[in-house]
Symmetry: C2
Subunit: 338 residues, 2 copies
């Protein structure tokens, strides 16, 4: 490498998370990013594969929960692993990675449990964003808002800064349904995919300015004392030079069985089926088995998921409530199923 070669981007893969939203597939010891929900390996492996391009990227830094060390190392033997002693949300986790990097390293922050179908399209967007990150912007990637989803954050696009790059004028956490409808109809809002490109120094400076307690705690080795805030809340909603690169790359956060159903390309009856199963007159169902034969007859819009030790049945539209069930199991001390 000559001194003129651009410094490769450092991917920062965030592999935290307790994995309650896809229970019983996901468990404490087997969070969502380690599941093989789609062909092509786990979402963690697919995330790493997405940035496996030596012309553009350095080997990834993976920030993971301490209890996942073995599992992550098994999936990504070449990754540099940064272990969080406990989960403190994304702002402190990214700070750990930024402190481990050089200040002028450009970091690409990637959640490990999202799906991006068009990896090449995504890398194109990263290339488009790179000069802005190098110039001190925090660049986000705006996922085309395909429906009035209330479970996602939204980014408002402002003036164009360059070809396909816009100033981000506002971050909105999960809006109500009416607001989400207005956003989708208006066309000036994208989903916040939780992907960020920025220099390590840019992030640390912004953190010091807008979330000094997090900056102080993490830089002084008191990670557990850092307020558990998301990067969106701690930094993005407050920082000045924030840009957004709109993309349409087949993104999904697979944050619920409803999202998994959509991401699985349902058949003509609206069913997305995986594993041993028999569906008679079922419509709009997500049916997934890791072992037992699942027979579904005459049911509509249900999630039916079976593992060797647990079965979930919930209407698709209520699939967010799975976490209530996991909380109830925790409250009852039923650790064997969590």
């Amino acid at each position: 490498m000559t001194s003129d070669a651009p410094k490769p981007i450092v991917p920062v893969i965030l592999s935290g998370g307790s994995g309650t939203r896809l229970w019983p597939l996901s468990r404490r010891a087997r969070p969502k990013q380690l599941l093989e929900l789609f062909e092509g390996g786990s979402m963690l492996a697919q995330t790493a594969a997405r940035v496996d391009d030596a012309a553009l990227f350095a080997p990834p830094l993976v920030v993971a929960g301490a209890e996942q060390e073995g599992a992550v190392a098994a999936v990504l033997p070449g990754a540099r692993l940064i272990l969080e002693p406990q989960g403190r949300n994304t702002a402190p986790a990214i700070a750990l990675a930024a402190l481990a990097a050089a200040r002028d390293d450009v970091l690409l922050v990637l959640p490990s449990d999202h799906l991006i179908r068009d990896a090449e399209g995504f890398r194109d967007a990263v290339r488009r964003a790179l000069p802005f990150a190098q110039a001190g912007w925090i660049v986000t990637f705006g996922m085309k808002a395909e429906r009035a989803e209330t479970g996602y954050g939204y980014i408002e696009r402002g003036e164009a800064l360059g070809e396909g790059v816009f100033a981000a004028t506002r971050f909105v956490e999960k809006p109500d349904a009416a607001t989400a409808e207005i956003y989708v109809a208006g066309g000036a809002h994208d989903w916040n995919g939780g992907l960020f490109l920025m220099r390590a120094g840019t992030y640390l400076d912004a953190l010091a300015a807008h979330a000094p307690e997090i900056f102080a705690a993490v830089s002084e080795g008191r990670f557990e004392e850092a307020p558990a805030l998301s990067i969106d809340y701690a930094v993005m909603e407050k920082a000045d030079k924030v840009a957004v690169v709109p993309v349409a790359v087949g993104w999904s956060d697979i944050g619920s069985f409803e999202a998994l159903h959509l991401a699985c390309d349902p058949d003509a009856d609206g069913n997305a089926v995986a594993g041993a199963s028999l569906a008679l007159d079922a419509k709009g169902c997500l049916i997934r088995s890791e072992g037992p034969l699942v027979v579904a007859i005459g049911v509509e819009d249900l999630v039916i998921v079976a593992t060797d030790d647990a079965v979930l049945v919930v209407p698709r539209a209520q699939s967010q409530r799975v976490k209530d069930a996991v909380e109830a199991l925790k409250a009852e001390g039923e650790e064997r199923w969590i």
Copy 2:
């Protein structure tokens, strides 16, 4: 026993059946009557217990499928077992028992897979019926019709023959819904519970008269060639001296998950739950697990049944369709689940 003591009634317990209607609980090798669906042992054991009264009954004759020999002997070690080389429905099965008995033995034919909550009330009805059976009548027991069920046969009551004993004027196989409504509203029809009291000779004579092919085949040792007809069709609808003793003894044939749900005394939310489960805002559901934890959230009027190797999800009102699923599995050669 003096020569004046009445000859005890010979219970004939019919333990055939392929057990597809409660799949995946019931399997070919584990038909419905061998399942522990309720406290107090399997329905076969409970059926035998119902006639375990030496003052009234001799030890039972059990007519079972050859493949059930071991299982039946394990549940009823004292029973005399008659093995059918293959299932040919009830008329030939009862003929086997009648030929094994003396002509003047009074037989009480009992399906092995029905529930009768009030065993003492049932024995009272048998005592009431006994003189008529001894006098050459075929006595049936009419179960109080509690709803316009289309899955059952109905018996029409005629003139009173004695205290609580009536001439049976008509047998109707599964009627349509409108007819069932009329029957229930009219009050002159009972459900046909498949229980019969009659002398062995009475039955054989009626069979010879009304279903001579069955009589000939069974009495000549050509059981497999007997037409596979029910006693209702082969004999009851045609015989002359048929009586009915109406009873209200908490009977159910548990012929579907819908019937099992009713028989399980659902809680205030309409749920009948057994085994490891967690129901959040579930209503009207039958939830049953033999192993896995079943979590049901926000669902209504569903049957959810889990075993170690299979899961069934079907609306309660469609639970009769389970047999379609079993047929489909057979057609696909999926023997391991049948």
